[in-house]
Symmetry: C2
Subunit: 205 residues, 2 copies
């Protein structure tokens, strides 16, 4: 067989199943079956199930730091930030299990991924807070800045984490017609209006 392929196929298949069933719910036998490798490979390449899990999470959320285009005005940067936030979770070409794996680790941290929070979550949080520092009036207290940040990131994550329930509530048809640009525009306009920042030509979505 192709040697190096095996070491890569394992965490990939693991990610899909961990996302679907969680750490405890997934079994190594199901993972190695999907990866098409022998069960001993888990021990050989990753020592045990937990380290395989960490590796899978890291690969699922290791995208480059897609910062907003620096040349844009602050409002444009905000729209970009929101759009990329949505894109990460709901991009059409992106496998759905990636988002679910990340969301699972975000809302129920296994503790094994504290390092990943520092390396990945924290920098993005600082980008948004920096953006709000430009958009909000000077000397806005720190607390109001991150309260506003929650108001922006919250809805982005809501689409992903509550996906199963949203499908039921608004109907499958309406859910399928949702477009990422529509969502991003809506959140951006909603935010800018709430902050009292004028935005050219936008009567309503």
């Amino acid at each position: 067989m192709t040697l190096r392929n095996l070491r890569e196929r394992l965490p990939e298949a693991a990610g899909e199943i961990f996302a679907e069933k969680g750490f405890k719910g997934a079994t190594v036998r199901e993972i190695i079956e999907r990866a098409g490798v022998n069960i001993a490979a888990v021990n050989y390449y990753f020592r045990d199930k937990e380290r395989l899990y960490i590796e899978a999470v890291k690969r699922a959320d290791c995208g480059e730091l897609e910062g907003p285009h620096l040349a844009w005005p602050p409002t444009g940067k905000l729209r970009d930030f929101i759009y990329f936030q949505l894109l990460k979770f709901l991009a059409p070409g992106r496998p759905a299990w990636l988002a679910r794996l990340i969301m699972r680790e975000r809302t129920q941290p296994s503790g094994a991924c504290a390092e990943w929070v520092r390396e990945y979550i924290e920098p993005r949080s600082k980008i948004l807070l920096g953006l709000l520092r430009e958009l909000l009036p000077p000397h806005t207290p720190r607390r109001k800045r991150y309260l506003t940040a929650f108001r922006i990131v919250g809805p982005c994550h809501f689409y992903c984490s509550h996906q199963p329930i949203i499908r039921v509530l608004i109907g499958e048809d309406a859910y399928q017609r949702l477009d990422l640009t529509i969502l991003a525009d809506h959140i951006t306009q909603f935010t800018l209006r709430a902050l009292g920042v004028a935005q050219p030509g936008e009567p309503g979505t």
Copy 2:
């Protein structure tokens, strides 16, 4: 021993542990140990682990329909809705595990609780959409109404579901100082301003 107490203590202890570790992660032996009952009681009272889980979820989220006070103006109803939404998850006296159990079932439905979604989630969704029908201009398309609803409910859930990460990002001290009324007011003002609905005397939070 007190007879009927036993049947009640079981799903209560189960809820705590299911919330903490999920359905698969929790073991019946840990549950019966915390409840202080014999392992046979699970089979005797609830047949199996899954039915015990369903019972625990139902009891965690069976609060009465705390609708906004009908006599209030629409803006007041909205604030009430948001406040109760937060209260359900983060009320000081309320055990934290209740919120986590509900959130777990919301974001990763086990499928066994479809009935609970219909009976509990759907009515509350309709209350909010009805409220928005009053607040938004007449003939606002259905899609914009529920997009706006997501903008309101999203942040409420964000506080709960991302609680572990928020604690790290803003610091434990700042997190402890967060007050539910502050949160509710902030979300309400943010929403009303975004909708272009005037609100008396409110320069900023």
